[in-house]
Point group: none
DNA sequence: TCAAGTTGTCTAGTATCATAGACAACTTGG
DNA sequence: CCAAGTTGTCTATGATACTAGACAACTTGA
């Protein structure tokens, strides 16, 4: 590798190294607790200066993916988040069960208008006022997914502010008196991350993402919210129960 | 945006801008022939210096996606090939209907042996002799896809030579007395182009591809050929009819 | 013809990226 | 304890990324 590669691709060398290592962890070449090769060895395999490797490892360490031990080596901290797809799915519960700390972050909340598709999913009329929430979910400090969520502006007035305060869709619904809800039909597809999501997910450009479309209903079957979520494929593993 | 964003993400700003514009073209926000917003306007929307926008546009121009006209503006060059996925799909017809000239090119023909999966698709026994044809399809002079096609060596003896002469799967089947055929179940996935296909498709490394697996049957439902095709995602758009 | 708007080109300055070398601090295994 | 191997930190240098401003060259529409 060389600066020429960086210039032509627009991706920093240390980022390529970091992504390569993270991919190795995702693929299982390095399991949780494993010792990574030494910095010099990594530098040789990527044909890169040791300082560049250190930059990459620092980025991974900041996200809690690896942990450096002076004099000893650098060790893998995390493993893929097992994400069961049940009708009752709560991000915070899943992450908590994995021994990691769930976080939510509001990216943007804005008013929107129901397209035909959104109206059908939410049981509204096309053109109905909606609130669109762009949010992000993390486990410890690692971004897991970004979601675009739509709710009826009439059923959930001021939902954007509520989410900004609670950072949780479950708590948002509780705020409007909804104690429990269920996930309806879920569509799973895959795609390539775009630049915006890549920056948000701290994901390399061009990496695969898992795209999940789903609508949550209350216990009477009335649609509440519909979501379009993009998961970093290398950090999560969907489990579908039979 | 600022250098701080770049530092944290390891992705150059101009790359984010270029991807954003390319996405706009892919999404149809900018159609072929359309004039893009001025460099200053793009710079404002991305909160970036005009020179950074010019870097992004230069990268897109080098790939033939946009074309700058001094004093006038920057225009979208490319147009995606609309590719309807019907049970009766002929590449030449689709390309011709788009007003472009279809071409076929034989890359390689070789003998092969049926794996379990291939045997199941073709209704043969595992280990049965096959002919494997690696071919490429173009519209005008733009590569659209590369396909690996398997046929029974017993049903279609010398198929490689026939394809080399006709450069068309339809004509190949005609040569063996098959006047019409239908496409069976089609699986569509996405992935990243590998180095070999990238060179063939004249595609940059790391670009997305649409992977299509399908088996063609004769009118009695007997499997004829099974294909594994890789389309340059940025040059084609599949249309699935409901 | 002319003014406004567009892309093309130049200079300059600051911050980051990447490389290079040296040495300190620490852990591990013999 | 000691040698080998590891990560941590420092200085230094050159290339690249991004911003900033100015002006030239060109197109378009009034």
């Amino acid at each position: 590798m060389s600066m020429q590669d960086t210039a032509s691709s627009g991706v920093a060398l240390w980022r390529l190294v970091a992504d390569g290592i993270e991919r190795g962890i995702a693929d299982g070449r390095f399991a949780a607790g494993d010792k990574l090769p030494g910095e010099m060895e990594i530098a040789e395999t990527y044909r890169v200066n040791r300082h560049t490797v250190r930059r990459a490892l620092a980025a991974l360490a900041e996200r809690g993916i690896v942990r450096a031990e002076r004099g000893s080596g650098t060790y893998v901290e995390t493993q893929k988040l097992a994400y069961p797809l049940r009708s009752r799915t709560r991000f915070s519960e899943i992450v908590g069960a994995d021994g990691r700390e769930p976080h939510g972050r509001l990216i943007e909340a804005s008013d929107d208008v129901a397209t035909r598709e959104l109206a059908r999913e939410l049981g509204l009329k096309a053109g109905a006022p909606l609130i669109r929430i762009e949010a992000m979910r993390l486990a410890d400090r690692t971004p897991i997914c970004v979601s675009t969520t739509w709710l009826s502006a009439q059923l959930f007035p001021g939902a954007g502010d509520v989410f900004a305060a609670t950072r949780s869709m479950t708590k948002l619904l509780e705020h409007y008196g909804i104690r429990d809800y269920r996930r309806g039909a879920t569509r799973i597809t895959a795609g390539i991350v775009d630049a915006t999501d890549a920056a948000r997910l701290e994901l390399a450009l061009g990496r695969p993402i898992l795209v999940v479309d789903a609508t949550d209903h209350d216990l009477d079957g009335k649609p509440l919210v519909t979501k379009h979520s993009r998961f970093a494929a290398e950090r999560v593993e969907f489990l579908v129960e039979s």
